[in-house]
Amino acid sequence: MNTDLHVILNLFATSSRLQKKRAYLTIAAIAWGTVAILLLLAFGEGLKLQLDKNRRSTGENLAVMWPSETTKPWKGMPPGRPIRLRIDDVDFIRERMPELKAVHGELQAGRTALTYGRKTVNGRILGVNYVFGDDRKHYPQAGGRFLSVEDEVQRRRVIFLGDEMAKDIFGDEKPVGKTLLVNNAPYTVIGVMQKKTQMGVYGGPDGNHAVIPITTFLAQFGRDRLNVMVIQTEQPQQMKAALAKVNELFGAKYRYDPTDDRALATWDMVKSAKTTGNITIGIQLFLGIVGALTLLIGGVGVANIMYAVVKERTREIGVKMALGAKQRWIIAPFVLEALLYTFIGGALGIIIATLLVSLTSFIPIENNRVLSFLGRPTLSPEIGIATSLILGLIGLAAGYFPARRAASVDPASTLRYE
């Protein structure tokens, strides 16, 4: 084996060299293909990360349940009976399902007048439990806070504003500490939500609503039917069982078939996250294939050059064969040469793509509507490994097939005359 390597390296070193221009063009083609595949994959990766971040910004491992109607008959009762949850159902579930990370209820009042000074805005008001802040990611901007236990227990008239709504009402003024009127009742603004981009919303984007304690809501609006109940599990894989148990508990309480999963309309965000995940994988795969095809064209270029080289060196190959070169000694230097061009082109492409990708980090995305959804192109080790593998395979193929032709040269016919 050592002699093999010695012979092959020696032959590789003493093979006649490609014309420089040809070599440069080939290398440029591979570099171009590498840049294309890396940028496409980086774009896909950035999209995936951003979608993931946006999806999480609504909250993680959540399921939302709305009041609805039964769809199956149960114990002599026909389908179509309305099922309405009440505020105390939040505690009902909390007590019986301690394994849940959080449960909260929401009361909603759409198109409510919010007045500050002479300006009135119609908006959506949510009455929520204090845990809502954490599990629905309503994080306050600096200088403010979210609702607390005390606010809820003492039915305080405090209000937490979505960032868009705060801008609508207050403009450039600082809202925290100011008093505004909700249906003519005064509320103190305690915080404004940090800006976020959401993938999935129910009711409307979080930035466009305002939040008050559920107890205060009950006192002012006099409604105790929940518009929405939200449960949160510790782990995504617990969601399916948790939803089944919720239906079992409510099924017994409100007398409906526990397998009737439409008695309460349910949005299982874990399930839809999986779908989104599959879509992003699909997008990445597609981008990867497009990139790989571009790179393949570069590979075809290398193979083309190698075929030409084999033709040019037919006599050289014949001479080496006559002098006793074994087939693998003929093949290997060609493969090595193709790999060398691929490697140099690939390395160049990786450097260029890395530079381009790091340049994009100078583009601000916070206030850009398009980029805040698309994200920023990102290179990952996986992308590097995948690209290197594809490059290696293309290099091998681009060298191997021409080399096989070289090995099939008939020495007798190449050596006779000029």
Binding site: V7, T14, V319, A322, G324, K326, Q327, A412, L415
Partner: protein
């Protein structure tokens, strides 16, 4: 027969070679019987199309016969793989071609080293043996010249040095003076004569009567058959 077997370098028995192009079959050799002993200098002559190139390819193991028995140095050339055939060429046959067939981009020394690279000779020994051989053909001062910097006669001398590199059983020369002027050709012929006198076995395929006259034996081939095989007077 048994006592001469050791001296036999080439033994061909009823060798046939048929080229099958799919549509037509061409029988290039129609039963060749040829034995060459160690130390002979044999010229194979014949008009073009007579099959002497085919014969040379078979003797040099560049190709294998369709039928018949061929042994070189006691080793049968039948049913061997391409790589084994390459190995036989490497160890037993030294080629000298009409078109020299040196690799143009490497030096004379590296050209002579090439068969030894394939024969797994150690680098230091390769270098030493190659420079000795070039010295012997009168090119001791041209080791680092590339073929393009050498005259035709010099190139053919490099080729002869290369042919001798692996100490082969036979030196097989195909029209070695065909591309040279008469003075350079004369030099090359003298080198072959010297080699023969040193005990080498040499087979030359040639049109050139001046070259065949120097051989100890002339084999004439016509239409795929040997028509005459005789020792020459000069051979003594």
């Amino acid at each position: 027969m048994t006592d001469t077997t050791n001296k036999l370098i080439i033994r061909m028995q009823e060798i046939r070679k048929v080229y099958d192009t799919g549509k037509i079959k061409v029988e290039a050799l129609k039963g060749i019987n040829l034995e060459i002993e160690k130390g002979e200098m044999v010229a194979i002559v014949g008009p073009s199309g007579s099959g002497k190139s085919t014969l040379m390819n078979l003797v040099g193991c560049l190709d294998t016969p369709t039928s018949g028995i061929y042994e070189i140095g006691g080793q049968a050339v039948a049913g061997v793989t391409r790589d084994e055939l390459a190995d036989i060429r490497n160890r037993r046959v030294g080629f000298v071609f009409q078109a020299f067939n040196l690799l143009p981009h490497i030096t004379a020394l590296e050209n002579v080293e090439l068969p030894m690279l394939f024969g797994a000779v150690r680098p230091a020994e390769r270098r030493e043996r190659a420079s000795q051989l070039l010295d012997r053909v009168g090119l001791g001062d041209r080791l680092d010249h590339k073929p393009t910097e050498l005259s035709g006669g010099q190139m053919q001398r490099v080729a002869i040095a290369r042919a001798l590199a692996m100490e082969p059983d036979i030196v097989l020369a195909d029209e070695p003076t065909g591309n040279l002027d008469s003075s350079a050709g004369g030099d090359i012929m003298s080198i072959f004569t010297d080699l023969w006198q040193q005990g080498r076995t040499i087979v030359i395929i040639t049109h050139d009567p001046a070259l065949s006259r120097r051989a100890s034996r002339v084999v004439e081939i016509h239409d795929g058959r040997i028509t005459s095989d005789q020792a020459t007077n000069e051979a003594a």
